[in-house]
Symmetry: C2
Subunit: 322 residues, 2 copies
Protein backbone atom coordinates (compact mmCIF):
# COMPACT_ATOMS: atom_id res chain seq x y z
CA UNK A 1 0.00 0.00 0.00
CA UNK A 2 1.64 3.22 -1.18
CA UNK A 3 1.56 6.07 1.32
CA UNK A 4 -0.28 9.35 0.87
CA UNK A 5 2.95 11.02 -0.19
CA UNK A 6 3.92 8.33 -2.67
CA UNK A 7 0.54 8.61 -4.40
CA UNK A 8 0.76 12.37 -4.68
CA UNK A 9 4.27 12.22 -6.01
CA UNK A 10 3.49 9.60 -8.59
CA UNK A 11 0.32 10.87 -10.17
CA UNK A 12 -0.21 14.45 -9.16
CA UNK A 13 3.18 16.11 -9.23
CA UNK A 14 4.34 17.48 -12.53
CA UNK A 15 6.91 20.15 -13.24
CA UNK A 16 5.13 23.50 -13.01
CA UNK A 17 4.85 25.00 -16.47
CA UNK A 18 4.00 28.34 -15.03
CA UNK A 19 1.78 30.98 -16.56
CA UNK A 20 3.95 33.44 -14.69
CA UNK A 21 1.21 33.78 -12.09
CA UNK A 22 1.82 30.39 -10.42
CA UNK A 23 4.99 30.95 -8.36
CA UNK A 24 4.93 27.71 -6.38
CA UNK A 25 2.92 24.56 -7.07
CA UNK A 26 2.60 21.14 -5.44
CA UNK A 27 5.07 20.20 -2.68
CA UNK A 28 4.98 22.90 0.00
CA UNK A 29 2.51 23.84 2.75
CA UNK A 30 0.79 26.21 0.33
CA UNK A 31 0.84 27.06 -3.34
CA UNK A 32 1.65 30.67 -4.23
CA UNK A 33 -0.09 32.67 -6.95
CA UNK A 34 0.53 36.27 -7.95
CA UNK A 35 -1.83 38.42 -9.98
CA UNK A 36 -1.28 41.33 -12.35
CA UNK A 37 -2.51 44.69 -11.02
CA UNK A 38 -6.21 45.29 -11.71
CA UNK A 39 -7.03 41.58 -11.83
CA UNK A 40 -9.24 39.73 -9.34
CA UNK A 41 -8.78 36.09 -8.47
CA UNK A 42 -11.94 34.06 -9.12
CA UNK A 43 -12.30 30.94 -6.97
CA UNK A 44 -14.80 28.09 -7.08
CA UNK A 45 -15.07 24.69 -5.35
CA UNK A 46 -17.08 21.65 -6.39
CA UNK A 47 -17.23 18.32 -4.59
CA UNK A 48 -18.20 15.19 -6.55
CA UNK A 49 -19.48 12.16 -4.67
CA UNK A 50 -20.04 8.63 -5.94
CA UNK A 51 -23.72 7.75 -6.21
CA UNK A 52 -24.71 11.38 -6.35
CA UNK A 53 -22.72 13.10 -9.09
CA UNK A 54 -21.61 9.93 -10.83
CA UNK A 55 -22.54 6.26 -10.71
CA UNK A 56 -20.46 3.65 -8.91
CA UNK A 57 -17.92 2.16 -11.28
CA UNK A 58 -17.82 5.26 -13.50
CA UNK A 59 -14.93 5.35 -15.97
CA UNK A 60 -12.11 7.10 -14.06
CA UNK A 61 -10.74 8.86 -17.15
CA UNK A 62 -14.10 10.51 -17.82
CA UNK A 63 -14.40 11.28 -14.13
CA UNK A 64 -11.03 13.03 -14.18
CA UNK A 65 -12.21 15.14 -17.10
CA UNK A 66 -15.62 15.91 -15.65
CA UNK A 67 -14.38 16.77 -12.15
CA UNK A 68 -12.23 19.54 -13.58
CA UNK A 69 -14.72 20.51 -16.29
CA UNK A 70 -17.56 21.30 -13.86
CA UNK A 71 -15.21 23.55 -11.90
CA UNK A 72 -13.89 25.31 -15.02
CA UNK A 73 -17.51 25.86 -15.98
CA UNK A 74 -17.88 28.06 -12.88
CA UNK A 75 -14.91 30.15 -14.01
CA UNK A 76 -16.47 30.39 -17.49
CA UNK A 77 -19.72 31.65 -15.95
CA UNK A 78 -17.71 34.40 -14.25
CA UNK A 79 -15.80 35.39 -17.39
CA UNK A 80 -12.55 34.36 -15.68
CA UNK A 81 -9.44 32.97 -17.37
CA UNK A 82 -8.35 29.71 -15.68
CA UNK A 83 -4.96 29.73 -13.92
CA UNK A 84 -4.79 26.54 -11.90
CA UNK A 85 -6.57 24.14 -9.58
CA UNK A 86 -6.10 22.14 -6.41
CA UNK A 87 -7.34 18.57 -6.01
CA UNK A 88 -8.41 16.85 -2.80
CA UNK A 89 -9.13 13.19 -3.36
CA UNK A 90 -10.47 10.50 -1.02
CA UNK A 91 -10.04 6.99 -2.38
CA UNK A 92 -11.13 3.69 -0.79
CA UNK A 93 -7.82 2.10 -1.82
CA UNK A 94 -4.65 3.08 -3.63
CA UNK A 95 -5.85 1.65 -6.93
CA UNK A 96 -3.05 2.47 -9.36
CA UNK A 97 -5.01 1.66 -12.50
CA UNK A 98 -7.82 3.94 -11.33
CA UNK A 99 -5.39 6.73 -10.42
CA UNK A 100 -3.53 6.54 -13.72
CA UNK A 101 -6.76 6.70 -15.68
CA UNK A 102 -8.25 9.49 -13.55
CA UNK A 103 -5.03 11.51 -13.87
CA UNK A 104 -5.03 11.01 -17.66
CA UNK A 105 -8.54 12.48 -18.02
CA UNK A 106 -7.80 15.28 -15.56
CA UNK A 107 -4.52 16.40 -17.08
CA UNK A 108 -5.73 16.13 -20.70
CA UNK A 109 -8.29 18.84 -19.92
CA UNK A 110 -5.82 20.81 -17.77
CA UNK A 111 -3.31 20.80 -20.63
CA UNK A 112 -6.01 21.82 -23.08
CA UNK A 113 -6.82 24.83 -20.89
CA UNK A 114 -3.13 25.54 -20.14
CA UNK A 115 -3.58 25.32 -16.36
CA UNK A 116 -1.58 23.79 -13.53
CA UNK A 117 -2.38 21.50 -10.62
CA UNK A 118 -1.02 23.68 -7.82
CA UNK A 119 -1.70 21.58 -4.74
CA UNK A 120 -4.05 19.29 -2.91
CA UNK A 121 -4.50 16.38 -0.60
CA UNK A 122 -5.09 12.65 -0.92
CA UNK A 123 -6.51 10.42 1.76
CA UNK A 124 -8.17 7.06 2.18
CA UNK A 125 -11.96 7.22 2.39
CA UNK A 126 -15.18 6.80 0.40
CA UNK A 127 -14.53 8.12 -3.14
CA UNK A 128 -14.78 11.90 -3.09
CA UNK A 129 -13.28 14.39 -5.53
CA UNK A 130 -13.02 18.01 -4.43
CA UNK A 131 -11.49 20.48 -6.86
CA UNK A 132 -10.94 24.19 -6.30
CA UNK A 133 -10.21 26.25 -9.40
CA UNK A 134 -8.52 29.63 -9.67
CA UNK A 135 -8.88 32.12 -12.48
CA UNK A 136 -8.26 35.77 -13.16
CA UNK A 137 -10.64 38.46 -14.36
CA UNK A 138 -10.12 42.23 -14.67
CA UNK A 139 -11.50 43.95 -11.54
CA UNK A 140 -15.09 45.01 -12.15
CA UNK A 141 -15.52 42.86 -15.29
CA UNK A 142 -16.63 39.57 -13.73
CA UNK A 143 -19.98 38.22 -14.99
CA UNK A 144 -21.93 38.18 -11.74
CA UNK A 145 -25.38 36.75 -11.12
CA UNK A 146 -26.79 40.02 -9.82
CA UNK A 147 -26.21 42.19 -12.90
CA UNK A 148 -29.32 41.45 -15.03
CA UNK A 149 -31.69 44.29 -16.01
CA UNK A 150 -35.35 44.28 -17.06
CA UNK A 151 -35.70 43.81 -20.85
CA UNK A 152 -32.32 42.09 -21.13
CA UNK A 153 -32.34 39.17 -23.54
CA UNK A 154 -31.84 35.70 -22.02
CA UNK A 155 -29.34 33.55 -23.94
CA UNK A 156 -27.96 30.03 -23.67
CA UNK A 157 -24.89 28.53 -25.32
CA UNK A 158 -24.80 25.22 -27.18
CA UNK A 159 -27.81 22.99 -26.68
CA UNK A 160 -29.67 21.56 -23.72
CA UNK A 161 -30.98 18.26 -22.39
CA UNK A 162 -28.56 15.70 -23.82
CA UNK A 163 -26.65 15.12 -20.58
CA UNK A 164 -29.90 14.19 -18.86
CA UNK A 165 -30.72 11.92 -21.80
CA UNK A 166 -27.35 10.25 -21.23
CA UNK A 167 -28.23 9.59 -17.63
CA UNK A 168 -31.54 8.01 -18.62
CA UNK A 169 -29.70 5.73 -21.06
CA UNK A 170 -27.19 4.80 -18.39
CA UNK A 171 -29.90 3.95 -15.86
CA UNK A 172 -31.74 2.01 -18.63
CA UNK A 173 -34.89 4.13 -18.56
CA UNK A 174 -34.53 4.93 -22.26
CA UNK A 175 -33.26 3.18 -25.38
CA UNK A 176 -31.78 5.22 -28.22
CA UNK A 177 -30.05 4.67 -31.53
CA UNK A 178 -26.33 3.92 -31.34
CA UNK A 179 -25.48 7.41 -32.63
CA UNK A 180 -27.79 9.24 -30.22
CA UNK A 181 -26.52 7.11 -27.33
CA UNK A 182 -22.95 8.09 -28.15
CA UNK A 183 -23.86 11.80 -28.28
CA UNK A 184 -25.83 11.67 -25.03
CA UNK A 185 -23.14 9.79 -23.09
CA UNK A 186 -20.44 12.11 -24.42
CA UNK A 187 -22.44 15.10 -23.17
CA UNK A 188 -22.95 13.47 -19.75
CA UNK A 189 -19.37 12.29 -19.25
CA UNK A 190 -17.30 14.86 -21.12
CA UNK A 191 -18.88 18.30 -20.69
CA UNK A 192 -16.91 21.12 -22.34
CA UNK A 193 -16.58 24.18 -20.10
CA UNK A 194 -17.41 27.33 -22.12
CA UNK A 195 -14.30 29.18 -20.98
CA UNK A 196 -13.63 31.11 -24.21
CA UNK A 197 -17.25 32.23 -24.42
CA UNK A 198 -17.24 33.50 -20.83
CA UNK A 199 -14.11 35.56 -21.49
CA UNK A 200 -15.54 36.91 -24.78
CA UNK A 201 -18.74 37.97 -22.97
CA UNK A 202 -16.89 40.33 -20.58
CA UNK A 203 -18.41 43.79 -21.06
CA UNK A 204 -21.19 42.29 -23.22
CA UNK A 205 -23.29 40.12 -20.87
CA UNK A 206 -24.90 41.72 -17.80
CA UNK A 207 -25.13 38.46 -15.81
CA UNK A 208 -24.20 34.81 -16.31
CA UNK A 209 -24.38 31.38 -14.69
CA UNK A 210 -23.48 27.89 -15.80
CA UNK A 211 -26.24 25.31 -16.18
CA UNK A 212 -25.37 22.54 -13.76
CA UNK A 213 -28.73 21.97 -12.06
CA UNK A 214 -31.03 22.77 -14.99
CA UNK A 215 -31.94 25.95 -16.88
CA UNK A 216 -34.99 26.75 -14.75
CA UNK A 217 -33.13 26.49 -11.47
CA UNK A 218 -29.95 28.18 -12.60
CA UNK A 219 -31.63 31.06 -14.45
CA UNK A 220 -33.69 31.32 -11.27
CA UNK A 221 -30.51 32.14 -9.33
CA UNK A 222 -29.75 35.05 -11.68
CA UNK A 223 -33.32 36.34 -11.33
CA UNK A 224 -33.29 35.97 -7.56
CA UNK A 225 -29.96 37.79 -7.18
CA UNK A 226 -31.05 40.47 -9.68
CA UNK A 227 -34.57 40.75 -8.09
CA UNK A 228 -36.28 40.27 -11.46
CA UNK A 229 -38.33 37.73 -13.44
CA UNK A 230 -38.17 36.29 -16.97
CA UNK A 231 -40.25 34.84 -19.77
CA UNK A 232 -38.81 31.95 -21.75
CA UNK A 233 -40.26 30.73 -25.07
CA UNK A 234 -40.12 26.93 -25.15
CA UNK A 235 -40.01 26.92 -28.98
CA UNK A 236 -36.75 28.85 -28.87
CA UNK A 237 -34.95 26.35 -26.62
CA UNK A 238 -31.94 24.77 -28.36
CA UNK A 239 -32.86 21.10 -27.92
CA UNK A 240 -29.92 18.73 -28.45
CA UNK A 241 -30.24 16.63 -31.62
CA UNK A 242 -30.04 13.35 -29.73
CA UNK A 243 -33.32 14.37 -28.05
CA UNK A 244 -35.24 14.84 -31.31
CA UNK A 245 -36.55 11.27 -31.22
CA UNK A 246 -38.28 11.95 -27.87
CA UNK A 247 -41.74 13.47 -27.40
CA UNK A 248 -42.07 17.23 -26.86
CA UNK A 249 -42.79 16.92 -23.16
CA UNK A 250 -39.55 14.97 -22.61
CA UNK A 251 -37.59 17.40 -24.77
CA UNK A 252 -38.83 20.39 -22.78
CA UNK A 253 -38.42 18.65 -19.44
CA UNK A 254 -34.80 17.61 -20.13
CA UNK A 255 -33.88 21.00 -21.65
CA UNK A 256 -35.45 22.98 -18.81
CA UNK A 257 -34.66 20.78 -15.80
CA UNK A 258 -32.16 18.22 -17.03
CA UNK A 259 -29.02 19.49 -15.37
CA UNK A 260 -25.36 18.67 -16.08
CA UNK A 261 -25.41 20.58 -19.41
CA UNK A 262 -22.60 22.97 -18.35
CA UNK A 263 -23.70 25.47 -20.96
CA UNK A 264 -23.79 29.16 -20.06
CA UNK A 265 -27.06 30.98 -19.45
CA UNK A 266 -26.56 34.74 -19.64
CA UNK A 267 -28.40 38.03 -19.94
CA UNK A 268 -27.47 40.95 -22.18
CA UNK A 269 -29.20 44.17 -23.25
CA UNK A 270 -30.86 44.00 -26.70
CA UNK A 271 -28.37 46.64 -27.87
CA UNK A 272 -25.61 44.03 -27.36
CA UNK A 273 -27.10 41.39 -29.71
CA UNK A 274 -24.44 41.84 -32.39
CA UNK A 275 -21.70 41.74 -29.77
CA UNK A 276 -23.13 38.55 -28.28
CA UNK A 277 -23.10 36.91 -31.73
CA UNK A 278 -19.55 38.13 -32.31
CA UNK A 279 -18.43 36.77 -28.92
CA UNK A 280 -20.00 33.40 -29.72
CA UNK A 281 -18.30 33.27 -33.13
CA UNK A 282 -14.98 34.17 -31.53
CA UNK A 283 -15.47 31.33 -29.03
CA UNK A 284 -16.68 28.89 -31.68
CA UNK A 285 -19.93 28.02 -29.93
CA UNK A 286 -23.54 28.70 -30.98
CA UNK A 287 -25.74 30.88 -28.76
CA UNK A 288 -29.52 31.12 -28.78
CA UNK A 289 -31.80 33.88 -27.56
CA UNK A 290 -34.58 32.15 -25.59
CA UNK A 291 -36.47 34.93 -23.80
CA UNK A 292 -36.45 38.16 -21.90
CA UNK A 293 -35.87 39.46 -18.39
CA UNK A 294 -38.98 41.12 -16.87
CA UNK A 295 -39.79 43.45 -14.00
CA UNK A 296 -42.51 40.96 -13.02
CA UNK A 297 -40.95 38.41 -10.64
CA UNK A 298 -41.04 34.68 -11.36
CA UNK A 299 -39.99 32.57 -14.31
CA UNK A 300 -42.59 31.80 -16.98
CA UNK A 301 -42.11 29.31 -19.81
CA UNK A 302 -44.55 29.82 -22.72
CA UNK A 303 -45.47 27.29 -25.41
CA UNK A 304 -45.84 28.10 -29.15
CA UNK A 305 -49.35 29.49 -28.48
CA UNK A 306 -48.07 31.81 -25.74
CA UNK A 307 -49.63 29.67 -22.99
CA UNK A 308 -47.72 28.76 -19.80
CA UNK A 309 -46.02 25.41 -20.11
CA UNK A 310 -46.32 23.04 -17.16
CA UNK A 311 -42.79 22.34 -15.96
CA UNK A 312 -41.23 21.56 -12.66
CA UNK A 313 -40.37 24.88 -11.09
CA UNK A 314 -37.65 23.54 -8.87
CA UNK A 315 -34.08 22.72 -9.76
CA UNK A 316 -32.73 19.34 -8.81
CA UNK A 317 -29.97 19.31 -6.21
CA UNK A 318 -28.48 16.83 -8.62
CA UNK A 319 -30.18 14.01 -10.43
CA UNK A 320 -29.34 11.29 -7.99
CA UNK A 321 -31.93 12.20 -5.43
CA UNK A 322 -32.54 9.11 -3.33
Amino acid sequence: MASEFDLIARYFTRPTRSSGMVQLGVGDDCALISLPANESLAISTDMLVEGRHFLAGADPESLGHKSLAVNLSDLAAMGARPLGFSLALALPSADEAWLASFARGLFALADNEHIELIGGDTTRGPLNICITVFGSVPIGHALRRDGAHANDDVWVSGNLGEARLGLEVLTRHLKLSVDDTAIALQRLHRPIPRVSLGIALRGVASAAIDISDGLIGDLGHILERSALGATIEADLLPIGSALHSQDHQTQYEFALNGGDDYELCFCAPPAQRENVIAAAQQAGIAVTRIGQVTEIPGLRVLDHAGKPLQVHSKSFDHFFNP
Copy 2:
Protein backbone atom coordinates in the same frame (compact mmCIF):
# COMPACT_ATOMS: atom_id res chain seq x y z
CA MET B 1 -35.26 17.22 3.61
CA ALA B 2 -33.82 20.66 2.96
CA SER B 3 -32.20 21.13 -0.45
CA GLU B 4 -28.54 21.81 -1.08
CA PHE B 5 -29.30 25.50 -1.50
CA ASP B 6 -31.37 25.77 1.66
CA LEU B 7 -28.58 24.25 3.73
CA ILE B 8 -25.99 26.60 2.31
CA ALA B 9 -28.18 29.60 2.85
CA ARG B 10 -29.03 28.71 6.41
CA TYR B 11 -25.67 27.82 7.88
CA PHE B 12 -22.96 28.98 5.58
CA THR B 13 -24.03 32.35 4.26
CA ARG B 14 -23.18 35.35 6.33
CA PRO B 15 -22.84 38.98 5.31
CA THR B 16 -19.28 39.45 4.04
CA ARG B 17 -17.34 41.56 6.51
CA SER B 18 -14.66 42.17 4.01
CA SER B 19 -10.99 42.70 4.67
CA GLY B 20 -11.05 44.82 1.55
CA MET B 21 -9.51 41.95 -0.37
CA VAL B 22 -12.65 39.79 -0.53
CA GLN B 23 -14.78 41.48 -3.21
CA LEU B 24 -17.46 38.82 -3.56
CA GLY B 25 -18.22 35.95 -1.20
CA VAL B 26 -20.78 33.11 -1.12
CA GLY B 27 -23.63 33.18 -3.66
CA ASP B 28 -22.19 33.47 -7.16
CA ASP B 29 -20.40 31.05 -9.49
CA CYS B 30 -17.08 32.16 -8.03
CA ALA B 31 -15.77 34.22 -5.17
CA LEU B 32 -13.56 37.18 -6.08
CA ILE B 33 -10.43 38.20 -4.19
CA SER B 34 -8.07 41.05 -4.98
CA LEU B 35 -4.54 41.42 -3.63
CA PRO B 36 -2.35 44.43 -2.89
CA ALA B 37 0.59 44.85 -5.25
CA ASN B 38 3.65 42.80 -4.18
CA GLU B 39 1.57 40.21 -2.31
CA SER B 40 1.21 36.56 -3.30
CA LEU B 41 -1.87 34.51 -2.60
CA ALA B 42 -1.06 31.40 -0.53
CA ILE B 43 -3.47 28.49 -1.03
CA SER B 44 -3.83 25.18 0.78
CA THR B 45 -6.41 22.37 0.75
CA ASP B 46 -7.04 19.69 3.36
CA MET B 47 -9.67 16.98 3.23
CA LEU B 48 -10.87 15.40 6.50
CA VAL B 49 -12.55 12.00 6.38
CA GLU B 50 -14.45 10.19 9.12
CA GLY B 51 -12.57 7.17 10.47
CA ARG B 52 -9.26 8.54 9.22
CA HIS B 53 -8.85 12.09 10.51
CA PHE B 54 -11.52 11.88 13.19
CA LEU B 55 -13.53 9.13 14.84
CA ALA B 56 -17.16 8.40 13.95
CA GLY B 57 -19.47 10.41 16.18
CA ALA B 58 -16.88 13.14 16.80
CA ASP B 59 -18.26 16.32 18.38
CA PRO B 60 -19.28 18.49 15.38
CA GLU B 61 -18.33 21.78 17.08
CA SER B 62 -14.76 20.56 17.64
CA LEU B 63 -14.73 19.20 14.10
CA GLY B 64 -15.74 22.60 12.73
CA HIS B 65 -12.87 24.15 14.66
CA LYS B 66 -10.31 21.52 13.71
CA SER B 67 -11.22 21.39 10.01
CA LEU B 68 -10.40 25.07 9.66
CA ALA B 69 -7.49 24.99 12.14
CA VAL B 70 -5.50 22.36 10.22
CA ASN B 71 -5.85 24.44 7.05
CA LEU B 72 -4.87 27.69 8.80
CA SER B 73 -1.86 25.82 10.12
CA ASP B 74 -0.64 25.44 6.51
CA LEU B 75 -0.92 29.21 6.03
CA ALA B 76 0.99 29.70 9.30
CA ALA B 77 3.75 27.41 8.04
CA MET B 78 4.05 29.65 4.97
CA GLY B 79 4.09 32.90 6.96
CA ALA B 80 0.84 33.92 5.25
CA ARG B 81 -1.89 36.12 6.71
CA PRO B 82 -5.29 34.36 6.41
CA LEU B 83 -7.90 36.07 4.18
CA GLY B 84 -10.70 33.54 3.72
CA PHE B 85 -11.66 29.98 3.05
CA SER B 86 -14.03 27.83 1.02
CA LEU B 87 -15.84 24.82 2.44
CA ALA B 88 -16.99 21.72 0.54
CA LEU B 89 -19.01 19.43 2.75
CA ALA B 90 -20.50 15.98 2.09
CA LEU B 91 -23.04 14.92 4.71
CA PRO B 92 -24.96 11.64 4.93
CA SER B 93 -28.13 13.57 5.87
CA ALA B 94 -29.21 17.16 6.42
CA ASP B 95 -28.78 16.93 10.19
CA GLU B 96 -29.58 20.42 11.42
CA ALA B 97 -28.22 19.92 14.93
CA TRP B 98 -24.95 18.66 13.48
CA LEU B 99 -24.76 21.56 11.00
CA ALA B 100 -25.50 24.19 13.63
CA SER B 101 -22.83 22.81 15.93
CA PHE B 102 -20.27 22.36 13.15
CA ALA B 103 -20.90 25.92 11.93
CA ARG B 104 -20.51 27.26 15.49
CA GLY B 105 -17.04 25.71 15.87
CA LEU B 106 -16.01 26.73 12.36
CA PHE B 107 -17.11 30.36 12.58
CA ALA B 108 -15.78 30.88 16.11
CA LEU B 109 -12.28 30.21 14.78
CA ALA B 110 -12.95 32.15 11.55
CA ASP B 111 -14.07 35.18 13.59
CA ASN B 112 -11.06 34.84 15.84
CA GLU B 113 -8.80 34.98 12.78
CA HIS B 114 -10.91 37.71 11.09
CA ILE B 115 -11.49 35.65 7.96
CA GLU B 116 -14.49 35.03 5.71
CA LEU B 117 -16.16 31.95 4.29
CA ILE B 118 -16.07 32.94 0.60
CA GLY B 119 -17.73 29.96 -1.08
CA GLY B 120 -18.12 26.24 -1.28
CA ASP B 121 -20.37 23.33 -1.97
CA THR B 122 -22.59 20.97 0.02
CA THR B 123 -23.75 17.58 -1.12
CA ARG B 124 -25.13 14.35 0.29
CA GLY B 125 -22.50 11.64 0.79
CA PRO B 126 -20.27 9.96 3.35
CA LEU B 127 -19.06 12.64 5.79
CA ASN B 128 -16.20 14.55 4.18
CA ILE B 129 -14.94 18.03 4.96
CA CYS B 130 -12.75 19.75 2.40
CA ILE B 131 -11.53 23.25 3.18
CA THR B 132 -9.35 25.45 0.98
CA VAL B 133 -7.75 28.44 2.71
CA PHE B 134 -6.42 31.63 1.18
CA GLY B 135 -3.85 33.95 2.66
CA SER B 136 -1.51 36.71 1.57
CA VAL B 137 2.24 36.98 1.95
CA PRO B 138 4.65 39.56 0.50
CA ILE B 139 6.19 38.20 -2.72
CA GLY B 140 9.49 36.48 -1.92
CA HIS B 141 8.85 36.32 1.84
CA ALA B 142 6.93 33.04 2.10
CA LEU B 143 8.45 30.44 4.46
CA ARG B 144 9.09 27.65 1.99
CA ARG B 145 10.26 24.11 2.73
CA ASP B 146 13.28 24.37 0.46
CA GLY B 147 15.05 27.29 2.14
CA ALA B 148 17.03 25.58 4.94
CA HIS B 149 20.83 25.86 5.07
CA ALA B 150 23.48 23.69 6.71
CA ASN B 151 24.13 24.80 10.32
CA ASP B 152 20.68 26.39 10.66
CA ASP B 153 19.09 25.79 14.03
CA VAL B 154 15.98 23.59 14.08
CA TRP B 155 13.13 25.00 16.21
CA VAL B 156 9.64 23.93 17.19
CA SER B 157 6.82 26.01 18.67
CA GLY B 158 4.75 25.03 21.72
CA ASN B 159 5.07 21.42 22.81
CA LEU B 160 4.72 18.03 21.18
CA GLY B 161 2.98 14.71 21.68
CA GLU B 162 -0.20 15.63 23.55
CA ALA B 163 -2.52 15.29 20.55
CA ARG B 164 -1.35 11.71 20.07
CA LEU B 165 -1.84 11.14 23.79
CA GLY B 166 -5.42 12.39 23.37
CA LEU B 167 -6.01 9.85 20.62
CA GLU B 168 -4.72 7.04 22.83
CA VAL B 169 -7.10 8.13 25.59
CA LEU B 170 -9.97 8.27 23.13
CA THR B 171 -9.27 4.78 21.79
CA ARG B 172 -8.85 3.57 25.43
CA HIS B 173 -5.25 2.46 25.09
CA LEU B 174 -4.20 4.75 27.94
CA LYS B 175 -5.68 6.04 31.18
CA LEU B 176 -4.66 9.43 32.53
CA SER B 177 -5.56 11.79 35.35
CA VAL B 178 -8.64 13.95 34.77
CA ASP B 179 -6.47 17.04 34.24
CA ASP B 180 -4.07 15.36 31.79
CA THR B 181 -7.01 13.85 29.91
CA ALA B 182 -8.55 17.30 29.51
CA ILE B 183 -5.26 18.76 28.21
CA ALA B 184 -4.67 15.88 25.80
CA LEU B 185 -8.19 15.93 24.36
CA GLN B 186 -8.08 19.71 24.00
CA ARG B 187 -4.85 19.41 22.03
CA LEU B 188 -6.34 16.68 19.82
CA HIS B 189 -9.68 18.38 19.16
CA ARG B 190 -8.84 22.07 19.31
CA PRO B 191 -5.43 22.67 17.77
CA ILE B 192 -4.41 26.33 17.63
CA PRO B 193 -2.88 27.32 14.30
CA ARG B 194 0.33 29.33 14.89
CA VAL B 195 -0.65 32.07 12.48
CA SER B 196 0.92 35.01 14.35
CA LEU B 197 4.18 33.12 14.79
CA GLY B 198 4.37 32.31 11.08
CA ILE B 199 3.88 35.96 10.17
CA ALA B 200 6.45 37.10 12.77
CA LEU B 201 9.00 34.63 11.36
CA ARG B 202 9.00 36.23 7.87
CA GLY B 203 12.57 37.25 7.12
CA VAL B 204 13.79 35.36 10.21
CA ALA B 205 13.18 31.66 9.48
CA SER B 206 14.80 30.07 6.42
CA ALA B 207 12.22 27.26 6.09
CA ALA B 208 9.09 26.11 7.91
CA ILE B 209 6.45 23.38 7.97
CA ASP B 210 3.55 22.59 10.28
CA ILE B 211 3.64 19.35 12.24
CA SER B 212 0.61 17.39 11.12
CA ASP B 213 2.11 13.95 10.53
CA GLY B 214 4.81 14.00 13.24
CA LEU B 215 8.07 15.93 13.73
CA ILE B 216 10.26 13.26 12.10
CA GLY B 217 8.16 13.05 8.95
CA ASP B 218 7.49 16.75 8.60
CA LEU B 219 11.03 17.93 9.33
CA GLY B 220 11.98 15.22 6.82
CA HIS B 221 10.05 17.14 4.14
CA ILE B 222 12.08 20.30 4.82
CA LEU B 223 15.33 18.30 4.66
CA GLU B 224 14.31 16.51 1.48
CA ARG B 225 13.31 19.74 -0.27
CA SER B 226 16.44 21.50 0.99
CA ALA B 227 18.68 18.48 0.15
CA LEU B 228 20.15 18.43 3.69
CA GLY B 229 20.09 16.40 6.93
CA ALA B 230 19.62 17.24 10.62
CA THR B 231 20.56 16.13 14.11
CA ILE B 232 17.90 16.40 16.82
CA GLU B 233 18.64 16.12 20.56
CA ALA B 234 15.85 14.17 22.23
CA ASP B 235 16.53 15.85 25.58
CA LEU B 236 15.68 19.21 24.04
CA LEU B 237 12.25 18.16 22.74
CA PRO B 238 9.44 20.18 24.37
CA ILE B 239 7.35 17.30 25.72
CA GLY B 240 3.78 18.31 26.61
CA SER B 241 3.12 18.30 30.37
CA ALA B 242 0.27 15.79 30.05
CA LEU B 243 2.86 13.31 28.80
CA HIS B 244 5.14 13.60 31.85
CA SER B 245 3.45 10.64 33.58
CA GLN B 246 4.45 8.36 30.67
CA ASP B 247 7.76 6.53 30.28
CA HIS B 248 10.56 8.14 28.27
CA GLN B 249 10.09 5.87 25.27
CA THR B 250 6.42 6.86 24.99
CA GLN B 251 7.25 10.54 25.45
CA TYR B 252 9.85 10.45 22.67
CA GLU B 253 7.68 8.34 20.40
CA PHE B 254 4.66 10.64 20.73
CA ALA B 255 6.73 13.83 20.44
CA LEU B 256 8.66 12.58 17.41
CA ASN B 257 5.98 10.65 15.52
CA GLY B 258 2.70 11.55 17.19
CA GLY B 259 1.17 13.80 14.57
CA ASP B 260 -1.72 16.25 14.81
CA ASP B 261 0.32 18.70 16.94
CA TYR B 262 -0.05 21.58 14.45
CA GLU B 263 2.99 23.29 15.90
CA LEU B 264 5.51 24.88 13.54
CA CYS B 265 8.89 23.29 12.89
CA PHE B 266 11.27 25.80 11.34
CA CYS B 267 14.92 26.43 10.58
CA ALA B 268 16.83 29.68 11.11
CA PRO B 269 20.50 30.68 11.00
CA PRO B 270 22.17 30.86 14.47
CA ALA B 271 22.60 34.63 13.87
CA GLN B 272 18.79 34.92 13.99
CA ARG B 273 18.37 33.40 17.50
CA GLU B 274 17.44 36.70 19.13
CA ASN B 275 15.01 37.49 16.33
CA VAL B 276 13.39 34.05 16.68
CA ILE B 277 12.87 34.63 20.40
CA ALA B 278 11.49 38.11 19.69
CA ALA B 279 9.08 36.72 17.06
CA ALA B 280 7.88 34.08 19.53
CA GLN B 281 7.34 36.68 22.24
CA GLN B 282 5.43 38.87 19.80
CA ALA B 283 3.22 35.88 18.89
CA GLY B 284 2.79 34.79 22.51
CA ILE B 285 4.04 31.24 21.99
CA ALA B 286 7.14 29.49 23.32
CA VAL B 287 9.75 28.17 20.89
CA THR B 288 12.46 25.61 21.56
CA ARG B 289 15.72 24.97 19.74
CA ILE B 290 15.96 21.20 19.29
CA GLY B 291 18.87 20.60 16.91
CA GLN B 292 20.81 21.59 13.84
CA VAL B 293 20.67 21.22 10.06
CA THR B 294 23.64 19.28 8.65
CA GLU B 295 25.27 18.76 5.26
CA ILE B 296 25.12 15.01 6.01
CA PRO B 297 21.80 13.70 4.68
CA GLY B 298 19.30 11.89 6.93
CA LEU B 299 17.69 12.74 10.23
CA ARG B 300 19.41 11.59 13.43
CA VAL B 301 17.85 11.77 16.90
CA LEU B 302 20.42 11.53 19.73
CA ASP B 303 19.77 10.63 23.37
CA HIS B 304 21.34 12.41 26.41
CA ALA B 305 24.54 10.37 25.89
CA GLY B 306 24.77 11.40 22.24
CA LYS B 307 23.77 7.94 21.03
CA PRO B 308 21.21 7.43 18.22
CA LEU B 309 17.71 6.93 19.59
CA GLN B 310 15.65 4.15 18.04
CA VAL B 311 12.53 5.79 16.60
CA HIS B 312 10.28 5.04 13.69
CA SER B 313 11.77 6.84 10.74
CA LYS B 314 8.56 7.08 8.79
CA SER B 315 5.77 9.58 9.21
CA PHE B 316 2.25 8.28 9.59
CA ASP B 317 -0.11 9.15 6.74
CA HIS B 318 -2.42 9.88 9.63
CA PHE B 319 -2.94 7.86 12.76
CA PHE B 320 -5.92 5.92 11.60
CA ASN B 321 -4.05 3.46 9.46
CA PRO B 322 -6.28 0.44 9.05
